[in-house]
Amino acid sequence: MGECHLTFLKQNGLDTVIAFFIKRLVTALLVVLTVSAMTFSMTFLTGDPAIAVAGENATQADIVRIREYYGYDRPIPVQFMSWLGRAAQGDFGQSLYLNQPVSIEIFARLKTTMTLGLSALIFALVLAIPLGVVAAIRPNSLLDRFALTVAVVGQAMPSFWFALTMMLWFGINWRILPVSGTDTWAHFVMPSIALGYFITPGVMRLTRAGMLEVLRSDYIRTARAKGASGFSILFKHALRNAIIPVVSLAAVQFGFMLGGSIVIETIFAVNGLGFLAWESIQRADLPMMQAIVLVLSVFYIMLTFLADVLNAWLDPRIRIS
C-alpha cells in the first residue's frame, strides 16, 4: 500500500493531490455549514426548548429560570452564530439533559456505534459478496435465486421486526445470545446482524451486477484465452475489478448505518450515538441533536472521501493519469 501511494504521488505530482484535498475540504466545509444551519433552524420548529429542559411537573417559574439560564430568550441568528463559533472549536455546548459537554458524550458514544457499525458492515460484506459472486457465476441458477430471495426479503422486512424476531428466538426461546447491552462481543451479534442485514441486498446486488458485467468483459475473455483457470479468472481478474464500486458503496453505507442505527440501538439497548440521538430527540435536547446531526454529516463526508481514496487505490485508472 505504501508503495502504491508513493507511485501515486510520484505520478501525479504533489500539487495536484494537495489541490484535490483543498477542493474537497472546501466542499466539505460548505456542506457542513449548510447542514448545521438547517439543523439549527430545524430545531426551532418547536415551541419553547426551556419547557423541555424543565421536564414534567415543572412550574412556570422553573421554566422562566431555565429559559434565561440557557439563553433561549436571545434572537435565533445570535444563538446560531454563537453556537457556530463555539462548534468550530469543538465546543457544542452543554447537553440540556445530561448536563455535560455534548462533545464528550458524543465521543464516548461514537465508539460503541462504530463498533456496531463495523461489525454490521463486516457481517454484511461477508454475507453479500460471496452471495453476489456465486449468483453472478450462474445467473438464474438455484443459488442465484436464493441470493435474490435473500436480497428481496431483506429489502422488504422492516428492520425492527427482524430484530425483535431474532431477540425472541435467539434471546428468549433458545437463550444462546444475550438480549441487550454491550458488555461482551456476544452482545453485538444480534444488533450487528440486524443492522448489517439491512444493507446486504444493496451490496449483494452491486457485487452481482459488477461481476456479471466484468465476466462479460473483454479482458476476462483475454484471461480465458491465456488459459487461466476458473478460480484465477473469478478472483484475480473479475472480483478485483467488480469489487471497486462495492468498496465505495460499503463506505457510504457505513455512513448511513451510523445514522440509521437508531432503531437497532434502541431495541438492543446499545448506548451508541443512534440511541443518544433518539433520546435527545425525545427530550428535545437541542445542542445534542444539532451536534449529532453535524457529526454524522461530517462522518459521511469523511467516508465518501475515504471511498474515493480507496477507489483510487484499487483502480489504477483513477490513481494514475
Binding site: N12, T16, D218, Y219, A225, G227, N241
Partner: protein
Amino acid sequence: MADPVLSIRNLTVGLPVKLDRKNAVTGISFDVRPREILCVVGESGSGKSITSLATMGLLSPGLKVTSGSIDFDGRDVLKLSNKERNAMRGDQMAMIFQEPMTALNPAYTVGAQIEEVFRIHRTLSAADRRAEVMRLLEEVRLPEPKRLYDAFPHQLSGGQRQRIMIAMALALDPKLLIADEPTTALDVTTQAQILVLLKQLNERHDAGIMFITHDFGVVAEIADRVVVMRHGEIVEQGTAEEVLNNPQHPYTRALIDAVPRPMTEDTTPEANENPVVIDVQGLNKTFTTSTGMFKPARTVTAVNNVSFQVKRGETLGIVGESGSGKTTLVRCLMRLIEPDNGAINISGVDFAAKSRSELRSHRKDIQIVFQDPYGSLNPRRTIGSQLIQGAINFGIPRKEAWDRVYKLLDIVRMPHDSVNRFPSQFSGGQRQRLCIARALVVQPKVLIADEAVSALDVSIQREVLHLLNDIRDRLGLTVIFITHDLRVAAQICNEVLVMQYGSVVERGGVSQIFNAPSHDYTKALLSAQPGQNWDMPVFDEGDTLAKI
C-alpha cells in the same frame, strides 16, 4: 505443404432459439497450416468471429457447437476437458482481440499480465519470467520495455496495447494464433504498423495465423489464403491470389466491388462558380478536462485556428484520424459546442456571433447526420414524429410538413409506412437513410455527414454514399463529409481537408491529395492504406449486393 495445425470440419454452431437464423455457423470446413496467414472475411453477422471463438473454446454460453469437429494438433478440441483446454489455451493456441482498449485487465500492469501466461503454463523463476517478458516487449517493438513493464493498460495507446496483446499471444510460441479483427479499432497508420509487425512475426515463428477481418484491403495486405463467409456459411475459399483477383462467387465479387477504390485517375473538378455557402475563419476550441479526481486538469486544443470555405453544391471532405479534431470542428460549426473564437458565416449569417436563441431560427440552414445509427434516433418516438419535428419547429404547416416527409422518404428510398414504426425496427443502413431524411426536412443549405457511413458494412456503406451524392446533386446541397477513411473521401468529395492535432495540415482537390500529397502526414496516411498494391478487379454491374 505441411500438415494443417487446425482443421475445421463441418462445424455447425447453433443459435439460441427465437432468433431469425437457426445456426450462427453452418457446416463450415477449412484448414490453417503452419506459417500461413489465413484470412476469414465477411460482413457483420457472417459467423467469422464465432468460428474463431469456437476454436478457442470461448463461445458464450448461449451458443453451442451442434456438429462437426475442430482438430487442433491431432486432437478434437471440442472433446477436451476444461482442464485440458486451459492447458492448451495460451500455450499452444493464442488469440488477439478486436478492442485493445478493453481486452486488458485495467487493474494490473501489462508486465504482470504478460507474465501471467508464464505463471499459468510454465514453472519459471521470477527473474526468468521477467526476462521473458522483456524479450517479448522488445520483440513486439515496444519502446522502453522496462518502463512499460510497470505501466497500466490505460496509460498506453491503442496500438501499444495491441502490441501487448500480441506479445502475450506469442509468449509461448503457440502453434496457432487467432487474430479477431485486431486492427479494426485502430487508426489507419497504427493498423499499418501492426500489420507489418504481424507479417514479420509470421516469418520468425512457426505459428499458423487465422486472421478475421471485414476489410479486403487488409486481406490483400497479409493473406496467404482466404475464406469468405456469409450468413454462417463459407461461400468461397482459396489462395489470396485466386480470391482477390479472380473471385468466383457473386458475393465475393460484390464485396470486392463495394470496396472503395483508391483514387488513381486525375479528376480535377471543374471550376465551381457558385457562391460561398460556408466561410469559417480562425475557429478555435480548447477543452479543459478534469476526468479523474487525482488528475490535473488538462487543456487539449481540439480545433486550432481552422479556416476554410465551401461553395454551394460542393462536397468538402474532412479527413483525419481519431483525435484530430474533425468532429469537434463540425460541432462548433453548428454551435452544438461553443467555439472559443472565430467567425462562422453560413449563407450570410454569422453563427458564432448569435446568441443561442437568435440562432434557433437559422439552425435549419445547416444540418447533420451522425455516425452512430443507433444513438441518433430517439428510440421512444415513431419515425414520423421525429422526421416532422424539424419542420414543425420552423412553423411549417402540418400538412405541408407531412408532404415533405413523404417526398424525402421517396428520396432516401424508404417506404412510406416507416413513419408509424419505431427505430428499433430498422437496420443500421436504413436508420442512416432516415437520419438523412430528418436532416433534409428543414431544407438545409448545408448537410454535414459526420462519419455517417463508418459504422456500416462496406456494401451498405456504398449505397449510402451513392445516396448522399445523389441528394447533393438533386437538391443542390453543400456537403461536409467527415471521415477517417481517405478511400471513402475519395469517392464522394470534391475537395479534402486533412486534419491532425486540431489543425488543417493540407487542403486540396481529391486527385491532388491522392496523387501529389505535400504534407508528410498526408503522405503517411496514404501509404498506410492497406491493400495498395492490390489492383482491384472490376466486375459487371450485374453483381451488386442488392441482387444477392
